[in-house]
Structures are given as C-alpha cells and as structure tokens.
Symmetry: C2
DNA sequence: GTATTTAGTTTAAACGTTTAAACAATCTTG
DNA sequence: CAAGATTGTTTAAACGTTTAAACTAAATAC
C-alpha cells in the first residue's frame, strides 16, 4: 500500500503548520484565517487527494462513528432487513455499522459485544438471545450506550425498541375469529424470550380456551412443526397462527406436501413475513412488523444516548394486519 | 461512558512503565521479564478488566484488522449469504468486516470504497456494478489490497474469485436438452456485466440456435419477465432457463398466477437459488453456486494480498447442477 | 578485580489527528 | 502614541499504543 497523505504533507507543501491545515479543513476558526492561505491549503489537499485518517481522529476525539449491531440470526430475513435499515439510518447520521450474529447463543453474544467495544464503537444495538439478562445489566453497569431491539427484558429499565407483540397477536386472532375459525392452532417456539411469549399471551387471551398450542424446539423446527400441525388437524383445528416467519415457512412447506388446501381446508396467518411467501400457491395473511420504524427508532435512541441526551426510554411500535387469501372465507 | 482502563492505569497500579506492561500483555520479550512482575501485571490487567484500545493500536501498527465488503445488492439472498460467509472466514483470521451495498450504482460504490478506506480497512472485497472498470484500475494504481468477487473484469488483471459461469450455463442447458426440451427460453438481464453475459454465452453456445432470449431491464424486472415468458409460450418454448435467482422468482410468481403446470407444461431451471423456492408447489432444478468456496477463497486471497504474499490471481470455481422436479420428465 | 555479558526495566519517539494557549504583527482607540 | 484589541499563525501537548534503544545492576569471565 502506498504511503497515504497526511496533514503534515499538506502543511509541508503549503509551508504552514499542521494545526492551520487542520483548522482550514475542518472549517474551524472561520473568521481568523486568511482567504488566500485557506484557498491554498484546500487546493493542495485536493491535489494530493487528502483524506483524513479516521483512526487518528478517533483516538483524539474518542468517537469512532461506528455502531455495533448484534443480531440473533443473520440468516433470518427479519434480521437481514433490520440490518439494512439500521445501516441506512445510521449512515444518515454519519455512522458506520459493524454487524455480528449470535446465532441465538449467549456466549457468542458476549464475545461479539466485547469485540465491538474493543473497536471502540460509539454504541450498541442488540437483539439478544434467551437468558441474556446479565449482559444487559453488565452494559448498564459499565455505562455503555446501547439500545435493545425487538428482544426485550421488561424488568431491566433501558433503551428499548420493540413491537407491541401482545396487541399484534390479538389482532391476528381477532381476524381469524371474525372470519370463521373458532378452533385455532397456535405454533410458537419453546422459549422464554419475552417478545415471543407476549405473542402467545395475546393470542391465548383472545382465543379464550378455543386454542391448541404447539411449541417448537429450536434445533428441531421442521419436525416439531409437522408434529404440531398433524395433531391440530386430528383435532379439527380450523386455522393456524404461526408466530414467526420461519415457523410459517416450515408449516407451509408441510401443508404443501400434504396437499392441504388453503384457505378452504385450513386458514393460515403468520406473524412477520418473508419473500418466500410470494411463491406459495396462495397469498398469506400476516402481521406486518414496522421494520423501518424499529430500525429508525433504535438508531435515533442510540444516538441520543451517545450524545448524552438520552434517558432510558422504551418505545413500542404497532404492527398491522395484512389481509390476504390464506384467511379468505 | 465510564473512563476505560489503559496501559497507563495498569502501569501505575503495578508501579512499572507502560512499555513493560505492553511487552507482558503481548507476550513479547518472553525470556527477559521477571516471572513475578509479569504475573502481577497480568493479575492487575485482569482485575481492572483491561482491554486494549484497538484504535490506538491501529494508529501505531497501521493495521485495523478490518475488511471492507462491498456488495451489489444486500437485499439479494446471494449477497447476504456471501456476506455471512465472508464474515465468518474473515473472523477466523482475526478480521472484522464492514459491509456496504452499492445498489448497483457506480457512484455509491465509489463513495463506500472511500468510506472504507477512510476507516483504514486493511483490504477490500468487491462485487461491483456494471461499468466499474475505472474503480478497479484506480485501486490498482493506489496499490490498495483488494479482491473482486463474483463480478469480474477479465481485461484487468487483479485478484478475482468467481464462478465459471460459462461452463455452469452449459451444464444447465445440457440437462434441459437431455431431458426433453429442444426449444429453450433464456431469461437474462440486459447488462454488460461479464458474469451474466458468460452465462448467456454458455447457454446460447449449447442451444445452437434453438433458443429464444428475453432481456430484462433492471428497474422493470417483473413486467419484462412476464413479457418474455408470454412470448416464449406463444412460440412453443418447452423450457425456461432463468439466469438469476431474482429472475426466477419473478418468473415463478407469474407462472403460478397463470396456472402453468411445472414440469408438465414447461420445464424450469434457475441459475442460483433462494429459500423462496421451498414454498413453490414443486421443487426447482437449479445451478448451485459454490458460495462457501467463493467467500473463503476471496478472504484467503485478500489476506495474502494484505500480508504481501499475494500476486494477481484469478480463481474460477465450478458450480454444480441440482436436479429437482421442475425438470423431471 | 576489572571487563564483559546478561537480565530486567525504562526512556522516548512515533503513528495522525485536535485544540487550548501562546505568540507576533497589525489595527483601533481615546 | 501607548494601550488594547484584532488578525493570522504556530507551539505543544494529548489520545493509547508499540518498540528500538538506552540504561542499570547483577552475574560471569578471565
């Protein structure tokens, strides 16, 4: 790699001090610098194709304008979409984003967070796996700016941006009830993650006893979903509510294979969506999560926290129902 | 944010110089340092929860152990998978990756590359849009370590990792010919990107005149794909070869809507795949690109280039056919 | 018992910035 | 015209590391 151009090189060429060059290039001390010198400096900077060394800048200012984004599973379209949005929003404020995926593992989360902090990120946006409470309290203790995104811990007060899962699940079930189905199968993960349990709680509250619940283990999604659907069908369930996009994919794959016709034999609704729905033989009704809102709000809160304007704020965003053919009567 | 612990803090607490602390913590000067002092330093470092400031380290060593990854379109599953793989491979070698998406725009590519370089990345992995030759020659000129990934410019010698698109496309068409179809519709982008044109060239060479070609404009994928398919069907085409995963999605969506039965009425094959295929009513035959190989090889080449061991090397990887139901006879 | 080697540690400069403070020259002002 | 203000610029320290070179004291050699 060729030697890069530094302030010193410009200063030498123009015949002034590096300080002056720095002032000119940063537009500080506006009134004080002679027009001609300023112009010369700018010209030489351009001529030499100067671009500041952010590393040196960061060392001095203690700001890297980098954010760490920890996702639960980058393979999930929800995560990758969030990543794009966060990146865009962050860029608008001048931040670069570095991304890590914990693959739902607490230890990997911890490692990645330490890596982010080593690199002196200005703050963190975190979607943490099950049982990560200690990570959160630890970060609070260390006074590191961060925001929880999507996954939250209500008992720990901290910046949080999430969907109102309880309300959204109620809306979904209400739609099923309104349409015809009285007996409803709910498929969810077997987890203690609050956001998922809130979905279940909302759905169950709405069903008022006319539900069946199938819980799916993380390493066994396809088989457990299939088992749940099988038992639902045996029990004359009229509609299935998949509480995540991955669960929906597994379920739809199976329903396809079994030639169950949707919505005639069975209504289907999903929490969250994926592009894959597009290729299913009929359109799928789903709860649309406000991804842009989540990402934008998280970045906004984090930036406030970094710049010291932030308090511990919790923001819940509304999700909305998108009615399609899979729940048509 | 709390004040972080520096070498100086450890040095002060132990009562030695920062240099000694640095030596101990980096395991340098092994033989020369007294066991007791070394032990004390390590103990205090642990006690204070010291973690080195990578920014300062980078400034001194001129290495950031960060790579810049520029993708053409992060929304494309091909890109996001590549991102994951590159990230993993890079991590193995101690690198962090920062990612940008050019959305197929040359100007955005340039901006992102400059951003990466500002942040002193050690090297770049690039999937560039159409008409980016100047970017490549410019980087060569500046002696910046980089590797082209997937998208390549044969006339510019530089580190390149890509699929042998020509050979892969021939394999795909051969499979269609072997199976029954003699008249084949080819759907590709209207572009001058070499990797896509190589696919087309391979397919056309294999078809020997029994092909129809539909070219699709970037901003009008769905409509152009539909128009192409319509004209194919009018002309009794027996099989369609979609030359990218996005083209396949658009096409399958349309074929679904038109109730064309696959493979009975029409055989279908795709270059590259996506999870969305899973929800189509039948399994789709496709060319499987060696994503892991691409990512791993790119990181390897780049690392060699960074550490000075690299020459301009071009690696072409083979893609393989995955036979499924959409081309069954 | 002086000279040399070895072991253990410190000094100090450097990386490329930023920025408060100092400085010199010129310009007001009463 | 002396004192003070203004304008334009430089000096120098700092951020947290790394590392060659210097230093000191003890050990070894002859």
């Amino acid at each position: 790699m060729k030697k890069t151009v530094s302030l010193k090189d410009i200063a030498a060429k123009v015949g002034v001090s590096t300080a002056l060059v720095s002032y000119v290039l940063n537009g500080k001390m506006e009134g004080r610098i002679s027009k001609e010198v300023a112009a010369r400096i700018k010209a030489v900077a351009k001529e030499l194709n100067y671009s500041p060394n952010q590393i040196a800048k960061s060392l001095k200012t203690n700001r890297t304008y980098t954010l760490g984004l920890l996702l639960a599973d980058i393979a999930n379209p929800f995560s990758s979409q969030i990543a794009r949005i966060v990146e865009n929003e962050a860029n608008k404020l001048g931040y670069t984003v570095i991304i890590g995926s914990s693959d739902e593992r607490v230890e990997k989360s911890r490692t990645l967070i330490e890596l982010f902090l080593n690199r002196q990120v200005d703050g963190l946006i975190l979607s943490l796996p099950d049982h990560s409470e200690e990570i959160v309290t630890d970060l609070k203790e260390r006074e590191i700016p961060f925001v929880l995104l999507d996954r939250y811990f209500p008992e720990i007060p901290c910046n949080t941006v999430a969907v109102d899962n309880y309300a959204a699940a109620k809306i979904a079930v209400k739609h099923l009830l309104d349409h015809k189905s009285s007996k409803i199968g709910l498929i969810n993960y077997d987890t203690s993650l609050v956001h998922l349990n809130e979905r279940l709680r909302g759905a169950v509250d709405m069903c008022q006893g006319n539900e069946m619940v199938g819980l799916v283990r993380l390493g066994h999604i396809q088989e457990d979903v299939e088992a749940a659907i099988k038992s639902f069908l045996e029990n004359k369930v009229e509609a299935i509510f998949f509480m995540s996009n991955l669960l929906a994919i597994s379920g739809l794959k199976y329903l396809n294979k079994q030639r169950i016709s949707i919505p005639e034999q069975l209504a289907v609704i999903a929490f969250d969506k994926t592009d894959a729905f597009d290729l299913f033989y009929t359109t799928i009704t789903y709860i649309n999560q406000p991804l842009s809102g989540l990402g934008a709000e998280a970045v906004k809160l984090l930036n406030e926290s970094i710049t010291g304007k932030g308090t511990n704020k919790t923001v819940y965003l509304k999700a909305e129902l998108v009615k399609q053919n899979s729940t048509a009567t």
